[in-house]
Symmetry: D2
Subunit: 366 residues, 4 copies
């Protein structure tokens, strides 16, 4: 198989760096271009970037010349880690030009024409690209905290129906990008507010769990309440969750549907798919960000302390790697899904590709 050339948009930022790190040695994709602001354009990548990963810059990328958002790109697939200040216009412009934009930015997530996809949960939402008036397309993944919440909720919603969800997040610093928060603001501190985060969780979750309709997704009818905090942890979002179900279920049943949850990425064995999307921990004090983030190379959602809740029905603790499954890794798995479904032809987006193999088929048995 020939490699599919991809470009990374916002390549010098934290998400862009993570794309580059995770795509090194990817079996299908090869980073051919890196795109950043005009301040960086024209420089070698290694000179333009303040590299904050703890593995060195991949040699094949370090020497690339940074391109600007105005340049025409050779690659057909663009991974976007663009800042939301520019992502809205830039991504649409790329889509108009025919590129497939796999975006981690928030700008288009709630656009009714744009799929907000977690391939284990709603690959059939990819059909929404038919509503997009552009030659190319935009496909998005959710906000980092939403990712782990939606992943834990999806099997419960399918099996028992969800009525209400309470979540408190304890989010890592890397979620704020780089430079992100000042050290003096967070050392030994908790910041009980993350701008826009609660709204994202409360709306994106419902779109992901919703049903695609003629004009977009009909959101799931679940009440979601989020309280978001920032804690002095480098990587790993922890979430305490309580859920109210529509149908009664025992704790064993709840555990069972979570543990056995599989989706298209698992069935098809996509390269970035965790073998098991939800890992259930028995030890009372797990999962922990400093111990457990490497499970499934950061692509799993970790569940602990599943037990009844005196106010709603069940409660639990979630943990996920916010910059892997919660950001760049999520986008890469989306791209793999799209490739697998046949939306690419010779490395470029082709709306007709997937006719014979509807994504929805993968969800039935899950």
């Amino acid at each position: 198989m020939r490699y599919i050339d991809v470009a990374v948009l916002g390549a010098t930022g934290a998400v862009g760096q993570k794309f580059i790190t995770l795509l090194e040695n990817h079996p299908w994709f090869r980073v051919r271009e890196v795109v950043a602001s005009s301040r960086s354009a024209g420089k070698r990548y290694r000179e333009a970037v303040t590299w904050i990963q703890n593995a060195p810059i991949p040699e094949t990328v370090a020497g690339l010349t940074v391109r600007s958002l105005e340049d025409t790109l050779e690659s057909g697939v663009l991974f976007s880690g663009l800042d939301s200040v520019v992502a809205g216009d830039a991504e649409q412009s790329y889509a108009e030009q025919g590129y497939l934009v796999i975006s981690n930015s928030r700008n288009h997530r709630m656009d009714p024409r744009v799929p907000l996809v977690i391939p284990e949960i709603n690959p059939e939402h990819l059909r929404l690209v038919d509503l997009q008036p552009w030659r190319g397309a935009i496909v998005t993944n959710p906000n980092c905290s939403t990712m782990f919440l939606a992943m834990a909720l999806a099997p419960l919603h399918r099996a028992f129906g969800l009525r209400a969800v309470q979540v408190t997040t304890l989010q890592a610093l890397s979620g704020a990008g780089y430079p992100g928060l000042p050290a003096l603001g967070v050392m030994g501190n908790v910041i009980p507010y993350i701008d826009g985060e609660e709204e994202k969780i409360e709306t994106e979750t419902l779109k992901i769990l919703g049903e695609p309709g003629e004009y977009g997704v009909n959101p799931a009818s679940v009440r979601v309440a989020a309280q978001c905090t920032r804690v002095p942890v480098v990587d790993g979002h922890t979430e305490t969750v309580s859920v109210q179900l529509q149908q009664p279920a025992t704790v064993e049943e709840v555990r069972s549907v979570m543990e056995s949850f599989r989706g298209m990425p698992q069935i098809q064995g996509l390269p970035f798919a965790p073998r098991q999307p939800l890992w259930i921990f028995d030890a009372a004090d797990r999962p922990q960000p400093a111990r457990d983030l490497q499970v499934e190379n950061g692509m799993a959602t970790l569940v602990g302390r599943l037990r009844p809740c005196p106010v709603l029905d069940y409660r639990m603790v979630l943990l996920g790697h916010n910059t892997v499954r919660g950001a760049a890794g999520a986008a890469i798995l989306n791209a793999e899904t799209i490739v697998h479904l046949g939306y690419l032809k010779e490395g470029r987006f082709d709306r007709q590709g997937c006719v014979d193999e509807p994504a929805a088929a993968y969800c039935v048995g899950a």
Copy 2:
């Protein structure tokens, strides 16, 4: 006024040290004796203690000879920061001998004969000491996380009635005592479990908000669900809270009853009383442990982000100084309350003292 001599039990531990620090220059109480395990007994306090406060050991205490739990004490009032392994028996033994034990330990909190008191909320529970068969008495304050939760809930419960409460705590390291948790376990980490803590919050809160009856307290009929986590913060417990009310209330009404909440300590101007028990913050990102713990010298409960909740009725963030208002400071305010109510005669417990001035009177107007 002559000083009331007090002893600190468990004087070398973290809570004991805080008692000693806070009691320096107290207008009513003077630390005359320090009591610790037999390993420390007989040494000078300054040699026996691994002092972890960031103010030096008060000179008047540093030179005291540490006494053992077997020694007869001169003081009539004992502040107990004893480890729960020994607190149960030791505190009862002291009560039998006629001492007034003001305990921060958990052992007797849920004993139906023992008042679990927050003077702003339920000073009338002090009457329970009449059920105690001992010459002396035991009076307790709640667990640190319960303190801030109960303080925020009390005015809501009185004004509107509470139906259900969800709380997630982000608790500081100092809450685990010293040496407490290993650094390698908590640096840049979240531990999603604190042994016994959720049960304490879920039961103590109901006792505090309950009504004293003939054989103990009838707990409040509120469903409380707690999820407790430990975060890498030195001091200051943060809590995200959602409440469901029995009667409808606007957010302004909710805010108003919290902000105007006053109790006996405020009315009587007790030395350790915060002028205002509940401080409401308007800035979206406050309160924060690294910024706001000094408000009211650590005796206030700080409230932020009061707003409607999509699942229950209202949600908010709480913060309090866990070793001050959440532990030693709470016990000291309990002691001040008891002194004020006339339970001491010449520095010793006297059950008859308070007949003419019932504590309950202070709660009516609050």
Copy 3:
């Protein structure tokens, strides 16, 4: 005594905030004006500032209208915490207009006409203001790390002569101002470089220990080598130091001259003077930033582990509060010294004031 009105330059920055915090309740000075960049000018201080202190903004300052660097000020004494990008020109301009600028900024420290003063060590350097061609004057205090080093070295240099000094610093985050360093850069990390810091230590120390001459200070003839690192500590610079002496001395003699070191601020009992400038710790694991910074309200230099060095003669560990004695507190003590020496007349700088009471007199007995 009437208060002396002072202005704080760079009032919204980290140093400016510390000036405001420390000057609350100062017996001589009253903050009458706050000055910041044009972005803040015209706003109330409480709206213009991102307040990062853990005590609230003093009420008397919170309501002041922020002035710009172009405004004429009423105050005669200006405490400068200006960013070094603007401090050079702005401070000189103020001096030309007749103001007394007490600066914590680095720009003028090494100007041969500008005193670089630690009142315990070299108050006689204040005479250098006679070389300044301006109606007003500029007086500076050293860089934070230099402060503690110079304080420890001064008595050794006087008593035994210094030949060489090796110092490694472990500097706190607050030394980088606010916002300063990104959290992701320093959490659980050591940064082995602080731009310009080693040069400051290696030159400022020699000026402070030098002798004032006709055209400026003749620097002390000591070789100083510094290696500076940043560690994840909020406040408190730790320094490991080795010294080579010109004359032999026992460890007891070294300790004795350090412990008994006193200067003009102690002799005159200036408000911000520590009673004892150098505190010697005996415990092997002290001093520590999280334990000992409150000694002398942050105005002392703390010395631990004094012992022979196998390469040079003696080695030790230093600690000091970098934003108090290492910055704003140092400037305030400089201002107190200047006031005490008679350089102010009706709150304004008066070069003739100090004729009858030469600063140098205070150093003889020290």
Copy 4:
């Protein structure tokens, strides 16, 4: 090649866990036995251990039954991470029984009969085992801080001769083992003392750089002064170093001998050998523990900020992974060296093995 069976002594401790983690998939060695205190003996390893690594317990080890120090072992090679309280007697006893003990413990390091080996520097010291009166043998690696210092010093000493060395260490928490230091003692703090550490650096370094003689090693004649501190970093010891040379050298020459330094492990391509033992960084603010520890899988010594020193001749910053190259990885490389030199016969120590291939030969060209 058949695997060589090895046992890990002190297998439940921090160093023992690291041995087990690093030996997973080792091409030569297979962990066949795990040995711990009698408290753990008889349990399955996964039940006996408080696992603190962030990769899961290797499956092949998790199910092993923990053996006690009294048990006879099948393996011929024992990796010792024993606590120094028991390591002295236990290791000698094993050596008497014929085992080859590759120890990371400090007890026997300075024994004149025991090689203290860094294979890049002094593999010829292995000859010292001939002085050991036991059937088996003990071979040690240095203290973690000494490792990186000695590695940086060795090429300088060979090329130019060393006269004096000053080092200040900023050591990570994992160096103190588990549970190690209490979180409340180190969060946001610097502890300026590590018991026994300075002595180890000052003596072990000289033994490593010394020449083996008839009765042991004649230590190198270099003055070494160390000041050791603990900083809130999880992994990675940083060291600031100044050196005085016997012969003049330019900074380019100094850099060149360090960068080109190779030893036997590199020449022979041993599995755990870093390709390049010393990495020189050009960026002023590197190396950093949070960024650079993964270089060469944690087996390299990282050097930054090489530049002249105003007091001695040159100064630099070192960084190394204290639990990999500074502990378990060092021991594994020692074992690989011994195997390569022919000291093992059918997996058991055989003193005659290495006659024909003297270790010293590898050092000549280095």
